[in-house]
């Protein structure tokens, strides 16, 4: 009896080992989204969009999971790797530590991480020059403000978000050196990225203190600031994805990170055996970060602002304007 059970178990084990291997030659991609989930209308949504685009156009096999808890990330990454997925993509700085632990254990699996740098040979780190994008929207905010006071609402006080705020206020001060910049943070734990009620309260306070344009980098909490802008008839600036559509007329622009392109290109490279580890930078130069302009905000951005901002972009690309980078501060 016991023997029977053991044989069955063994058979199951073997079959499961084989079934999870890909014989068809289809590239299998595992996507680990972080706490915001695939519908955060922001960062994770962009990664998911890039991956589903690859699924359709490149005929890969895509599986995604959402880490509802930061502690779960490591096992989610390991799960994909153990099932011999060809490429495992981690979305967000919160996955950095787990990935530096898991990646060396599976040298044959390719890994990619967004917004974090993991220096292992089989990991591609996709980093964005947030400070450059933030500088651009900071300059736009300074051009749009009538009260000479702009605001910034970040999710958590962490280096990545400081990078946004530093670039933003530098951009605003580039246009108007005497401008007032308020800065607030939503929370101290992961719930900060998911607390629109709180971010709305922060925005109401900033608008109440005289700010009339607020840049928000707080994941799914962004919508709270947009609501406040609508209530108070002021302006907000979105982040990561193009969020202009969420509240047309109240969102000046969005600081766009081409997370979707980064994800798509990485999958494409893996499929064509061109995958390389190491650091890949996305900045203004290769349109990895940018401000967005579409039918929802065309009335808010004047022609004058557009010309001026294109000029500034050129200067940054040529190195004539040095954008302060929180990661490289002394």
């Amino acid at each position: 009896m016991v023997k029977n059970i053991l044989t069955t178990l063994l058979a199951l084990l073997i079959s499961s080992l084989f079934s999870s291997q890909s014989f068809s030659g289809v590239l299998r991609v595992g996507l680990v989204l972080d706490k915001g989930g695939k519908d955060d209308k922001s960062f994770n949504s962009a990664a998911y969009a890039g991956a589903t685009k690859a699924e359709k156009e490149l005929k890969i096999e895509l599986k995604y999971v959402e880490a509802t808890d930061t502690n779960a990330i490591e096992s989610l990454l390991r799960n994909f790797a153990r099932k011999n997925y060809d490429l495992v993509i981690g979305v967000g700085f919160a996955e950095k530590d787990s990935m530096s632990k898991v990646a060396p254990q599976f040298p044959n699996v390719k890994f990619a991480i967004i917004d974090g740098e993991v220096s292992k040979p089989n990991v591609r780190s996709l980093m964005f020059a947030e400070h450059e994008g933030a500088f651009i929207v900071g300059a736009l905010a300074a051009m749009a403000t009538k009260t000479e006071h702009v605001g910034f609402v970040g999710g958590m006080d962490i280096p990545l978000i400081r990078r946004f705020s530093m670039g933003y206020s530098a951009g605003a001060k580039y246009i108007k050196p005497k401008i007032n910049v308020s800065e607030n943070y939503v929370g101290v734990t992961g719930e900060a990225w998911n607390n629109p009620a709180k971010s709305k309260e922060l925005a109401i306070t900033q608008y109440g203190n005289g700010a009339d344009v607020i840049f928000v980098a707080a994941g799914a909490s962004n919508t709270g600031v947009f609501d406040a802008a609508e209530d108070k008839k002021k302006l907000a600036i979105g982040c990561d994805s193009n969020q202009n559509w969420i509240k047309p007329g109240f969102i000046l622009t969005s600081m766009f990170k081409a997370v979707d392109v980064a994800v798509f290109d990485t999958i494409k490279d893996a499929q064509q055996n061109k995958f390389t580890g190491g650091l890949v930078q996305f900045g203004l130069k290769n349109l990895g970060v940018n401000y967005t302009s579409d039918k929802y905000n065309e009335k808010l951005l004047t022609a004058e602002m557009r010309t001026k901002i294109e000029e500034i972009k050129k200067k940054i690309i040529l190195g004539q304007i040095q954008v302060p980078d929180y990661f490289k501060r002394k």
């Binding site: 915001g36 989930g37 695939k38 519908d39 955060d40 209308k41 959402e66 509802t68 006080d157 308020s182 800065e183 607030n184 943070y185 929370g187 101290v188 719930e191 998911n194 607390n195 629109p196 009620a197 709180k198 709305k200 309260e201 922060l202 109401i204 306070t205 109440g208 799914a220 919508t223 709270g224 609501d227 609508e230 209530d231 969420i246």
Partner: protein, 291 residues
Amino acid sequence: MDLFLFFTALFLATLRLATPLVFASLGGMISERSGIINIALESFMLMGAFVGAVAAHYSEHAWIGWMAAFLGGLAIAAVYAFFVIELRADQIITGMAFNLLAMGLIPFFSKILFNSTGSTPSLPLESRFSFEPLLVAALLVLALSWWLKNTRSGLWLLFAGENPQALLASGVSVKKVRWAAVTLSGGFAAWGGASLSLYLASSYSPLMTGGRGFMALASLIFGKWRPVPTFLACLLFALADAIQIRLQGVQINGTEIPVQFIQILPYIVTIIALAGFIGTSRPPKALGKEL
């Protein structure tokens, strides 16, 4: 004049931040006064936030969302009541289980309805509240404190938590009283959630309660399980939060206080408050005890 404006803004922010806490802690109060520990408030709130946002989205009416949230809260609390009253499951563990359940259940329904595990579609201004939940919260405090003091059923509730045997002896079913109390607590806590999704924000987003259910429990203990003091405790916590928002980035002698220190202010107030600053806070005698 500036000072006046500052205090008005602070006062309004306090009221807004307190609203979800008030509903949740009043819900918790009813349940705990009847003798049932309720740490599942967080899940009731999440349920209310979700059901409210969904109903308001489809009906395009905030009040329909509000009522639906109440019903949703009743429903999930009824399941909780079934477990802890009928099956006599451990109240703490069941409460935790419900908090975890809500985290998984809501994305499941959300996926079916909107093909999204994240937030629900955002609600336009017309199908949101602009101030109404504030009034409802204040009325509820008054109504509950009157009800507990002046009605027969209010006394039943108190006795179910203090001396259930006496209540039994007088021919009233303790079980029924507790069932009613626990389900009603779900409805009220769900209003707390709905005031987040329909009033303070504009849609349901995952885990949007952010621990407010536990803050509500703290207010409840701080308020010694009585409606008006509990309400004041909620206001105190909300005030700490509102001050915290305004203190961020303030400089003292040219050096900026790290923002994290300011952000933990509400939690420090909670700890100090609960560490006996208020004198003894005595829970209902039969709280958490089986019949």
